[in-house]
């Protein structure tokens, strides 16, 4: 694929510092035409800042970029696009209330007429095996289909370099395979791809070369096919990893039982829950997988008590509690840790002490006759910080001052420190560094070992395979029958998550 010595993009000594943190320090590498080049690193290693500089969103402090032999310093994304650099973001910038063609037109400098654009979209989507109806409302599309809108938006500009930021985090395994076919086809046609990920197997399967970043610096370059996933992981983390350990234990009585749970979504374009049923025993961890937007948030809200249902839909230790609020459920023994740390799990501008009170008031008895016992609350906050190794200057600092991993440890720690009978967590390690993620997973396992029933909602399949006893998937607001995690294959999991959403057909027709 790679021409001899030919270079499309060369980056030399790129440095970018933000107040208090150096995001990139003296980063250099080169991408050849048609090469699939991986940027590998943990969350916070500086991958995003690097590609934002290439895409003209961030201006480097120093260093140079050369594109096809000419100096390249895009002042804004429009300039980057003109020069043939396109990017698909991890978080889509699409308007849900507009249709596909309108969304594509919004990203173009001089969009053609709607009918012409629609036929071009159809053409490109057929050429690359990405079926997409230009007339459909984006709000009705799955996450995978939304990603196709973004990819096609890029392909219409005929890019020379396509940047993809964590593209598979919203896809089922089958959809990943099909995306890879598309990317390989692009690569064969000479389009270079800069592929950002921390998923090692994907990189080994897809990429020709890899640049590994740690704390803003290039620590290694390698050919990923020649390395094991473990080698790559250790280069990325800079140490050896200890996977969470757990011992098999007998399970107890059913602690949480959900049956026939159907809830409309509180959000426009949200996913309604349809007839969901499962049960979790004491000492058991149930994993709920699914591509984002398939009802995870709605299920979490229904379990935490923020959205109420009929009494008998949800039972805690046999007692109906579907119509009770969050505090009644805490009293009954159910604690919950939401996905969004700032604004949902914690109030950003409040201190850790106040945030400890936020969900700890009921079970820790921090309030008597309406008055807050601040001394006890401070002690509780301090206890969380100590026992979950939360790195913070003190419990008086605002929640938003903590890094994502530390705040997540605080949030999960706050719930687990309440001696709960049932734990519900949504995306417990999203955007968290590897060390903190391992600590959080271990804490969940320990809690289950101590007799709690644990429900983990997550999009990270590796995480679920690692820590859960049983496994189910949400797809379009429906939950599959939970199955024992041990012995599940990736193909089976993919089918539980909804397969490829009708994409296989396209590739059979247009290989």
């Amino acid at each position: 694929m790679t021409g001899t010595g030919e270079v499309l993009l060369r980056i030399e000594g790129l440095t970018k510092a933000y107040p208090g943190v150096v995001a990139n320090s003296d980063v250099s590498f080169a991408v050849a035409p048609g090469e699939v080049h991986a940027l590998l690193g943990e969350n916070g290693a500086g991958k995003s800042t690097l590609v934002k500089m290439i895409y003209g969103l961030v201006k480097p402090d120093s260093g140079t970029m050369t594109l096809r032999g000419a100096a390249y310093a895009p002042s804004k994304p429009g300039v980057a696009r003109q020069q043939g650099v396109a990017m698909v973001f991890q978080h889509f910038s699409l308007f849900e209330a507009l249709n596909v063609a309108e969304n594509v037109a919004l990203g173009m400098q001089n969009p053609p007429g709607m009918r012409a654009l629609a036929s071009r979209i159809r053409q490109v989507s057929q050429d690359y095996g990405l079926p997409l109806d230009p007339g459909r409302l984006v709000g009705d599309l799955s996450a995978g289909e939304r990603q196709r809108v973004e990819i096609i938006r890029c392909l219409l500009q005929d890019p020379k370099l396509l940047i993809m930021d964590e593209p598979t985090s919203v896809l089922t395994p089958q959809e990943v395979d099909i995306l890879f076919q598309t990317l390989r086809q692009l690569s064969a046609e000479g389009t270079a791809i800069l592929y950002i990920s921390h998923k090692l197997e994907e990189i080994r399967a897809l990429c020709d070369a890899a640049t590994i970043l740690r704390r803003g610096k290039v620590v290694a370059t390698c050919t990923p096919r020649g390395k094991t996933a473990r080698d790559l992981a250790e280069m990325m983390v800079g140490g050896t990893l200890t996977p969470p350990s757990r011992s098999a234990k007998a399970k107890g009585a059913v602690a949480l039982e959900v049956s026939g749970l159907s809830v409309p979504s509180p959000n426009l374009f949200g996913t309604a829950l349809k007839n969901i049923g499962f049960s979790v025993q004491k000492g058991e961890i149930l994993g709920i997988a699914g591509v984002a937007g398939n009802g995870q948030d709605e299920l979490f809200l229904a379990l935490s008590g923020e959205v109420r249902t009929a009494r008998d839909r949800i039972r805690i230790n046999g007692a109906g509690c579907g119509d009770t609020g969050p505090n009644e459920r805490r009293r009954a023994g159910l604690v919950a840790a939401p996905e969004e740390r700032l604004g949902h799990a914690a109030a950003p501008d409040m201190s850790l002490t106040e945030n400890a009170l936020l969900s700890g008031a009921v079970r820790k008895g921090l309030v008597s006759r309406g008055f807050i016992d601040w001394a006890a609350t401070r002690a509780f906050a301090g206890q969380i910080v100590d026992s979950f190794d939360v790195r913070t200057p003190g419990i008086r600092v605002a929640a938003r001052a903590l890094s994502g991993g530390n705040l997540q440890k605080f949030v999960v720690g706050r719930e687990l420190s309440q001696a709960p009978a049932i734990v519900v967590v949504n995306q417990p390690t999203w955007g968290v560094d590897a060390a903190a993620a391992a600590a959080i997973r271990q804490a969940l396992i320990d809690r289950a070992a101590a007799g709690a029933a644990v429900v983990v909602i997550s999009q990270d399949l590796d995480e679920l395979l690692e820590i859960t006893d049983r496994f189910a998937a949400l797809n379009g607001g429906r939950l599959t029958e939970p199955r024992p995690t041990q012995g599940l294959t990736v193909d089976e999991i993919g089918l539980m998550m909804g397969g490829a959403h009708g994409m296989e057909v396209a590739h059979h027709v247009h290989p």
């Binding site: 402090d61 969050p326 914690a346 409040m350 936020l358």
Partner: protein
């Protein structure tokens, strides 16, 4: 150029220092304005801030006025601040204040000329009830039909003003007033009077109520779970729901408390300094209290100080009008500057300013 950089944790120093800085900036900018108007800026600023309290000629009259004016401002602003903290915007305190005066006066006048000692407490309760009822209209419309409480509460002010005029001309008009608009004088009827409690201080029951409200609201916000929920709902509504806060209950509570306190302020005003229900009974306390609430950073102690400061600019402003011949519009602009500078320097608590050259932000 200047670069604003967000602080990791809000600065406690600047939170406390910004109101002082705002007052100083207002004095400077106001001084410039007075100079342009051809007045001596130092004399003008001194007349506004110093003379009402310390000038031997005026302070005898002005000093008690300070509490008379600050009392209702503080009482209303404390109530409003609870809602504002929770993100519930009661803009109609002026209307609730008027309704408190009407309800309270009517309750008392119904028993005229009885000398029963229970009448005054009854009037106080009726005043609070009047303000509460008027605030419940936007509260219930919001919780039931998701109407905007800003608009509803604001528009109800004009309804209340019309009701006031109708009361002064009709139902509550004094039978002994020779046909002139206006009710009987409540401050001259011993049963309903709200007199100056300590001679020469301006202290009346409304001022006492304001101090009690400040202390109670301080304890509520610092020590009580309800105060915590109010702050949480304002800062992070989703986190509040996660913490088990019922948003509708909070709307009813905050609107109710602010309405009742505004109603109380109206009642104490009509039985004391104003004396009677008249067409022009209200003097804009309900709107000014919004400024006081923000000037005091929605903090009870801050509101106490802000209410006194605002009252001072009113009294000093009037003094400057007739001593120096400053137009009343200039005084209003001066008061406006105070709010403007306060909001402008507000971001110093959360941001620090850096001088940066060459680099793109």
């Amino acid at each position: 150029m200047f670069i604003l950089e967000k602080r990791p944790t809000p600065s406690r120093f600047w939170m406390a220092a910004t109101p002082v800085l705002a007052v100083i900036l207002t004095m400077i900018a106001g001084g410039v304005m007075f100079a342009i108007l051809g007045k001596d800026p130092f004399e003008a600023v001194r007349t506004i801030f110093w003379d009402p309290l310390f000038d031997p000629q005026f302070s005898g009259y002005s000093r008690p006025q300070l509490l008379v004016k600050a009392g209702p401002l503080i009482l209303i602003a404390v109530g409003l601040s609870l809602g504002f903290r929770a993100g519930i915007w009661n803009i109609g305190a002026e209307g609730q204040y008027i309704m408190g005066a009407i309800f309270g006066a009517a309750a008392g006048l119904a028993f005229y000329p009885s000398e029963n000692r229970l009448i005054f407490p009854l009037m106080v309760a009726a005043g609070a009830f009047g303000g509460w009822v008027w605030a419940m209209i936007p509260a219930i419309l919001r919780t039931r039909f998701r109407t905007n409480e800003i608009l509803v509460s604001l528009l109800l002010v004009y309804v209340a003003q019309s009701l006031l005029a109708s009361m002064a001309l009709g139902a509550l008009r004094s039978p002994d007033g020779g046909g002139f608009p206006g009710s009987r004088n409540l401050s001259q009827w011993a049963t309903s009077a709200n007199p100056e409690l300590i001679a020469g201080t301006g202290m009346h029951w409304g001022v006492v109520a304001a101090f009690i409200a400040v202390i109670a609201s301080y304890i509520l916000l610092q020590r009580h779970i309800l105060g915590f929920q109010i702050r949480l709902a304002g800062e992070a509504p989703r986190a509040a729901r996660f913490a088990g806060v019922n948003p509708n209950r909070l709307v009813v509570l905050c609107m109710g408390v602010s309405g009742a306190l505004a109603g109380l302020a109206g009642l104490f005003e009509v039985t004391g300094p104003a004396g009677q229900i008249s067409i022009d009974f209200n003097s804009g306390y309900g709107f000014t209290a919004i400024i006081v609430a923000f000037l005091g950073r929605l903090n009870p102690i801050g509101i106490l100080l802000a209410g006194l400061l605002m009252a001072l600019t009113y009294i000093g402003g009037e003094l400057a009008q007739f001593m120096l011949g400053l137009p009343s519009a200039a005084i209003q602009a001066f008061q406006g500057m105070l709010l403007f500078f306060l909001l402008a320097v507000d971001m110093l608590g959360n941001y620090r300013i850096r001088l940066g050259f060459g680099r793109a932000a």
